[in-house]
Symmetry: C3
Subunit: 155 residues, 3 copies
């Protein structure tokens, strides 16, 4: 890949992650499916990335939420937040192209989960997604995604 | 446009939106005018993008805030937030170049409006801008902008 | 620089700032050192960018936090937040390439500082970094960084 192709791939991967956030928060589940590879892995255990963090930060650590396969990942996400109002924001996506069809990246995030009527904030956290991407039939998709957390508060 | 020109246009449009947020929050109204086309449309009705959302989410829906023309848009924005302290953040701008001088995009946002002394948060919302852009005399500008909301709280 | 080289430099500078936030929040101090030039300046006085802002906004203004040199900057940052839990987010980085190895930029930010156990939010602010960058031995680094604030609350 020349420099322009590399930059274009980086831009496509940034937009891929933009769609991930937007399609999740607007509950477009079928379209959300297309951001993941068929053999994707999603690790939502959300272990803390800072030693010594307190109880509020460790809240999500007891979960064992690792999902294999694009369909299972979407089923998990729908089960977790299907009827909740959610807001996910991504910040400063750092993408590295590793090969013609392989890339990795880290993106900071903030996530909020509210009750269906928006009246109660049940989860408010910040952290990072650590990801790998693959280009399949010309379209970049998320191949692996692992969440680490700086902070999480449960309402 | 070749791939580099397309990427450059995408970058220019991202910076255009960066200026929109920054010039608004630092109250540089004359400079803010220049991010809009003369015949721009700004639809701030902020209808919710999720069915079944509750009262707090629907709060802004009763407004009929659609403004035509760059000058009217700036007058509206100044009237709405001129003396308030505001913080607007944009996330994961997805830009698509449609033609040499035409583009469209979606960007996630969070907006906060506080009283002049910053002591009371009067509005705190999240949502998306759905926009089109035009290149006029070599400079990209916002041609149409429509807000949808995931959530809004009025203080 | 041609258009592709310019875009690549912009992307490298955006990733530089992404590392700045991420390495600070994950407390990787040695790696954080590498984002700054040896002769960098960091102006953290955080004066408000809006006239007439109230007391909560002016809280940080009495500090005289200007640091010279990459080592001193890291020592200052470690001293200020070494044991605290922190979350820093950057938004809409506007980067301009001025010469082959010189650039400037503005990036919106939100910063949160919490106690070590994450239970109390001691500072929550928003504002902008106004920066210059230099390419040293092929790697972009922050040469000068100055914070302005839209809002800050001390807990």
């Amino acid at each position: 890949m020349d420099i322009s192709e590399k930059l274009f791939a980086i831009e496509e991967i940034k937009q891929l992650k933009g769609r991930y956030f937007r399609l999740m928060d607007t509950k477009q589940w079928d379209a959300l499916r297309s951001v993941f590879c068929d053999d994707a892995t999603f690790d939502a255990r959300a272990s803390l990335s800072i030693d010594g963090a307190g109880e509020s930060g460790r809240a999500a650590e007891s979960n064992d939420w690792v999902y294999q396969g694009g369909d299972n990942i979407i089923a998990f996400i729908r089960g977790a937040i299907g009827n909740s109002r959610t807001i996910h924001h991504g910040h400063c996506h750092e993408v590295e192209i590793l090969a013609d069809d392989e890339a990795c990246g880290v993106i900071a995030m903030e996530d909020q989960i509210l009750t269906e009527d928006g009246s109660v904030l049940t989860l408010h956290g910040c952290g990072h997604y650590h990801e790998t991407y693959r280009r399949v039939n010309g379209a970049w998709r998320i191949h692996t995604s692992r969440i680490t957390r700086l902070q999480v508060n449960l309402g």
